[in-house]
């Protein structure tokens, strides 16, 4: 027996906790300033954050942790998504049955599916809230313009990822949402039809066929959408996410008021503690919601039984409402204008010195409130008018479609938003105020159009105060 060898072995065994921690952290226990800096710098996951964090960043009422919430929701969807992928089978014959099996016999499968669904849809809400926070604190201004663009990209990806996931269970909801969405994709056909060039240049039809892999949703569509959902879109999302985080560091961390005292603390442990809190809160929220609320699963997809109304998922119902006025406006013009408008904000408003302050002060808050009120009233009036009196087609059945494409409620609303924002710029002499007006009205339109499309539209896209009043088939 080699006594010294065994001693060494015993000693190593005894010290295993310390030596593993040292190898992991690449430093001693983070209790001194030096080691706290080292622990952040030397860790792959932590080094993307600064060694020190400005106190403003830690102020809960500044960020509300909304960006982090979005990130953690993404994390939960990824984890639950991987678990679902083990059982899910992307073929039209088996997709529905595999989702049933996940629901009924996979241990915690129902919970995983719920978490995947609700965390994913939660991302839509929280990414938008995060965007609102960034906007209202003026955090898009120089040098953060480009990161705002990356953020818009991430928002778009969030929408499309959610949408592609909605198709996968291959139930009636999936199938008819696919039909609606492919029609929205096809909506430029309305314009080419009105211009009479569809036979030569049917870009809408081509786009639809490319998306569906045919003319109606089927096998090819499902595998295409599955590929988008688990491969292409997540890869893009994670790449843009990396850029988004990297730019935060490069652009000087989170925005903060210009005149504020530059006071910072070590990221370890203050920042990590805050992050841990948001993580736990987030997990608790998703878990509790998913424990009680089941993700919907209808009858198996049946092309012969149209859902009436056939609806896109809720986050696209604002668009579908606009599509009901004019396909081109709702499917192409309005979303393009919205994305373009949002993207241009940091380049059209280049005022500085207001970053880090909610609403850039009192005037901004008043502008936001005024825009909120004016927008809500005008849009409610417009929607009420359309619902009560209809539009051109109801008054003059033979009116050329091109006229409706050019003049329709959605177009009038966009024009009103643009004019209102310009008027604010003129009145206040501030492009920032104009941006606040524009963005507030964007939020108002998203919420109100979505509400109308989701709650107030029944069979044949007719108006009903509530679902319980829908006629029974």
């Amino acid at each position: 027996m080699n006594q010294p060898g065994m001693d060494k072995f015993r000693e190593n065994l005894r010290n295993i906790k310390g030596s593993f921690a040292a190898s992991l952290l690449r430093t001693k226990r983070p209790i001194s300033g030096r080691s706290r800096a080292a622990v952040m710098l030397n860790n792959f996951f932590l080094h993307i954050q600064g060694v020190r964090t400005n106190v403003n960043t830690l102020r809960p009422a500044y960020t509300f942790g909304l960006g982090l919430v979005s990130l953690f929701l993404l994390f939960f969807t990824t984890v639950s998504g991987i678990l679902l992928m083990i059982y899910y089978n992307p073929s039209t014959g088996d997709a529905y049955n595999s989702v049933k099996d996940i629901t009924y016999v996979v241990f915690a499968g129902r919970l995983m599916r719920n978490m995947h669904k609700w965390a994913g849809e939660g991302m839509i809400i929280f990414v938008m809230l995060h965007m609102a926070r960034v906007f209202y604190t003026g955090s898009y201004s120089r040098p953060r313009e480009f990161n705002w663009l990356v953020g818009i990209m991430l928002l778009t990806l969030t929408f499309v990822l959610n949408l592609s996931g909605y198709m996968l269970p291959w139930d009636q909801l999936s199938y008819w949402a696919l039909v609606i969405v492919s029609n929205i994709i096809q909506s430029s056909k309305e314009l080419t039809d009105a211009l009479g060039i569809t036979p030569y240049f049917d870009i809408g039809g081509m786009a639809k066929e490319f998306f569906l892999g045919g003319t109606v949703p089927g096998k090819a569509t499902l595998i295409r959408v599955y590929f988008l959902h688990i491969m292409l879109l997540p890869i893009l999302l994670f790449i843009f996410l990396g850029v988004h985080f990297w730019r935060i560091r490069k652009d000087g961390g989170l925005s903060r008021p210009a005149g504020a005292v530059e006071k910072s603390v070590f990221s370890w442990p203050d920042l990590l503690r805050a992050e841990a809190a948001v993580f736990m809160l987030c997990l608790a929220g998703v878990l509790v919601y998913s424990f009680y609320v089941d993700a919907p699963l209808r009858e198996m997809a049946n092309p012969l039984i149209p859902e009436n109304p056939a609806k896109a998922p809720w986050y696209f119902l604002g668009l579908q409402e606009m599509v009901s006025y004019s396909a081109f406006t709702g499917g192409i013009a309005a979303p393009a204008l919205a994305i373009l408008g949002l993207a241009l904000i940091p380049y059209l408003d280049r005022e500085e010195g207001h970053a880090g302050v909610w609403f850039s002060g009192r005037q901004g808050m008043i502008t936001a409130l005024q825009s909120l009120l004016a927008g809500a009233v005008v849009l409610a009036g417009l929607l009420a008018f359309v619902i009560r009196f209809g539009w051109f087609r109801n008054w003059w059945p033979d009116v050329p479609q091109i006229l409706i494409i050019m003049v329709n409620p959605a177009g009038i609303w966009v024009a009103f938003v643009a004019l209102w924002s310009l008027r604010v710029i003129k009145k206040t002499g501030s492009t920032r105020m104009g941006a606040i007006a524009l963005f507030t009205m964007f939020l108002v339109s998203y919420v109100m159009f979505t509400y109308v499309g989701t709650e107030l539209r029944g069979p044949n896209w007719e108006f009903y105060w509530m679902k319980s009043r829908w006629p029974v088939h």
């Binding site: 106190v55 830690l58 102020r59 809960p60 049955n97 049933k100 099996d101 009924y104 016999v105 241990f107 915690a108 919970l111 139930d171 009636q172 603390v265 203050d270 503690r273 805050a274 841990a276 809190a277 736990m280 809160l281 997990l283 608790a284 878990l287 509790v288 424990f291 699963l297 209808r298 009858e299 198996m300 049946n302 039984i305 006629p471 029974v472 088939h473």
Partner: protein, 593 residues
């Protein structure tokens, strides 16, 4: 910074996460079916001990019967654990042994459960497995036991089922034939077109059925059962005729549910065509396809649903006027403008031979004297003398009479004999018709709430096409649907007879129409059709006469040719006016060569 706030938040959230993780784990680890399995095991041991047998303890894990050939996964036996355990004969549900000896020939591990009982095999809780309620979003809820035999017919033929314990579905199939359901409903290629076709109706999802008025659970079987009870309470305006006892309605529901579109793999099917199926005879065919509307065919009946009289097609009076050629034509081609279906192979799907058999059956009681009768054909005899306009002229008495049955439109029936007797004569110059019918009241004035008697002849403007006999309604506003109408009015006749004001016109108007509400006078003051009517002993007789060659848009007659004609009669006492009248379908005038 905010250390306490973040730590508290973390702690509270972590507690929530921990609590709900434990809750979720508990919920996942103790599903309802596990409770059922332990209870089953307890029962099993207890009963085995009482019976002095050794209990082979069941596997406690999840049970499923995987049936790739049937495309099914059945997890029903997690709760219905004793389904093939004889010890469980008197156990409580869901542990009880399956009733009867069905499982002897249909072992659970080879057939599963849902192939007979429906429901959602994959589900592992009662509500969803049984597919109860629309909120489970399952199209095939578990079939109630009174309809369960419908599933037997998916693999077995009725011939076999009749004898081996699935009498209800076989009886339902028999009722389906006897009640003449195929008169309106197509199944396997044959049957009428007035109702929905029934292929695969038993596997159609609930969404195919209008459930608005269904009482109780909105399932296909409830729909079928309630619809058999009272079709119009489920589908307002339905034309379906039913006269069923509750038991018959149940049996027919069972049979309907057996009409499934799924094709079972050959190794699951067992059929026994004990004897080669004989082709059905005429009587059977009549019951299968005709009886629902025509009943016994012995007397004409007013049909409240169709709102018209259905002629007595087996009444000797009718058969005297209808020869086989005419009947074959009507059965094959249908009657435009009536619910009568075209039964030819390209239509409702009967073969020529089957139609012949039906007609032989129908005409078996035709009076022998009618052997010469030209069915549906009214021959106009050629004479050399002038054709008299006077109804009582002897020439008319000698002319051959044809009987044409009328059906009532837009009014309820009365006790009168709804027939017209028609005679037709022609010479080189003119053609004339004498139309005679029973009318016990003579109504010759028109006023508020006073209606007159009347009669009309109707001809298609083009002989080649047959418009709807309802004034060409719905058969096109072009020449194809245009009809020429000769309309005799009793009130005008009365004015003429009593020397009143008549504007110099005769009692007959010459009109054209292409459907209801399009009637208009064809000519100016000189009406080419002359007429005269006379009422005697409760009968009207009216003579119509026109030059053989008419003008543009008038009916065309030619020796040896065929001109379709239909008749209408108005009874003033019955408040007949306009579309409210008695009419015939198309008959055919053939001027003798």
């Amino acid at each position: 910074m905010y250390r306490k706030f973040y730590l508290t938040l973390t702690l509270i959230s972590a507690l929530v996460v921990l609590a709900f993780t434990l809750l979720a784990a508990y919920r996942e680890a103790t599903p309802g079916w596990k409770t059922h399995r332990s209870e089953y095991r307890r029962l099993f041991i207890e009963k085995a001990r009482a019976a002095g047998k050794e209990a082979v303890l069941p596997d406690m894990g999840i049970q499923q019967i995987y049936l790739p050939e049937l495309g099914r996964v059945d997890r029903c036996t997690n709760c219905h654990a004793g389904v093939d355990n004889p010890l469980m004969a008197d156990a409580e549900m869901p542990y009880r042994l399956h009733s009867g000896d069905y499982l002897r020939n249909h072992p659970v591990d080879r057939f599963g459960c849902t192939v007979c009982h429906q429901g959602q095999g994959r589900a592992t809780n009662k509500k969803e497995a049984h597919g109860e309620g629309r909120d489970t979003h399952w199209d095939y809820p578990i079939i109630p036991l009174k309809y369960i035999q419908s599933s037997c017919a998916v693999c077995h033929d009725l011939d076999m089922l009749e004898r081996s314990g699935a009498d209800r579905v076989a009886e339902g199939a028999g009722l389906f034939r006897e009640k003449g359901c195929k008169g309106c409903h197509k199944l396997n290629g044959t049957g009428g077109v007035l109702g929905k076709h029934l292929d695969g109706v038993g596997s159609q999802p609930a969404a195919y059925f209008p459930m608005k008025y269904v009482r109780g659970e909105k399932t296909v079987y409830s729909w079928l059962r309630q619809h058999f009870g009272d079709p119009r309470s489920i589908v307002p305006g339905s034309l379906m005729k039913v006269d069923l006892t509750d038991r018959e309605a149940d049996l027919l529901t069972t049979y309907m549910l057996s009409l499934r579109s799924e094709e079972m793999p050959a190794k699951y099917r067992r059929t026994r065509h004990a004897e080669a199926e004989e082709p059905p005879d005429g009587g059977t065919l009549y019951r299968m396809y005709c009886i629902a509307c025509h009943g016994t065919g012995k007397k004409s009946v007013y049909d409240r649903i169709f709102k018209r009289t259905i002629p007595a097609i087996m009444d000797p009076a009718f058969l005297r006027t209808a020869n086989d050629l005419f009947l074959t034509r009507v059965v094959k081609e249908g009657r435009t403008g009536t619910p009568m279906t075209a039964w030819k192979a390209g239509g409702a799907g009967l073969t020529d031979e089957e139609i012949d058999r039906i007609i032989s059956y129908m005409t078996r009681n035709r009076p022998p004297s009618a052997g010469q009768a030209a069915g549906g054909i009214i021959t106009a005899s050629k004479i050399s003398a002038d054709i008299p306009l006077r109804p009582e002229d002897a020439l008319w008495k000698r002319a051959r009479a044809f009987t044409v049955p009328l059906m009532l439109v837009g009014r309820s029936p009365d006790p009168m004999d709804r027939l017209v007797r028609v005679r037709a004569l022609y010479n080189d110059r003119d053609i004339a018709f004498s139309v005679e019918w029973e009318d016990v009241t003579r109504n010759v004035s028109l006023g508020v709430n006073k209606f007159r008697d009347g009669a009309a002849l109707q001809f298609p403007v083009r002989n080649t096409a047959e418009p709807s006999f309802r004034m060409g309604q719905g058969t096109g506003r072009d020449g194809r649907g245009m009809v020429n109408i000769w309309f005799w009015k009793a009130d005008v006749q009365e004015s003429i007879d009593t020397g009143g004001k008549t504007d110099g016109r005769g009692p007959v108007e010459n009109l054209t129409a292409t459907g209801f509400g399009t009637l208009r006078l064809k000519d100016g003051p000189s009406v080419p059709v002359r007429g005269r009517g006379q009422w005697r002993n409760g009968r009207w007789q009216v003579v119509f006469r026109r030059a053989l060659s008419g003008r543009e848009g008038d009916a065309v007659f030619s020796a040896g040719g065929v001109t379709p004609v239909s008749f209408a009669v108005w009874d003033g006492a019955g408040e007949d006016v306009d579309g409210r009248k008695a009419v015939s379908a198309w008959y055919y005038i053939v001027p003798e060569k």
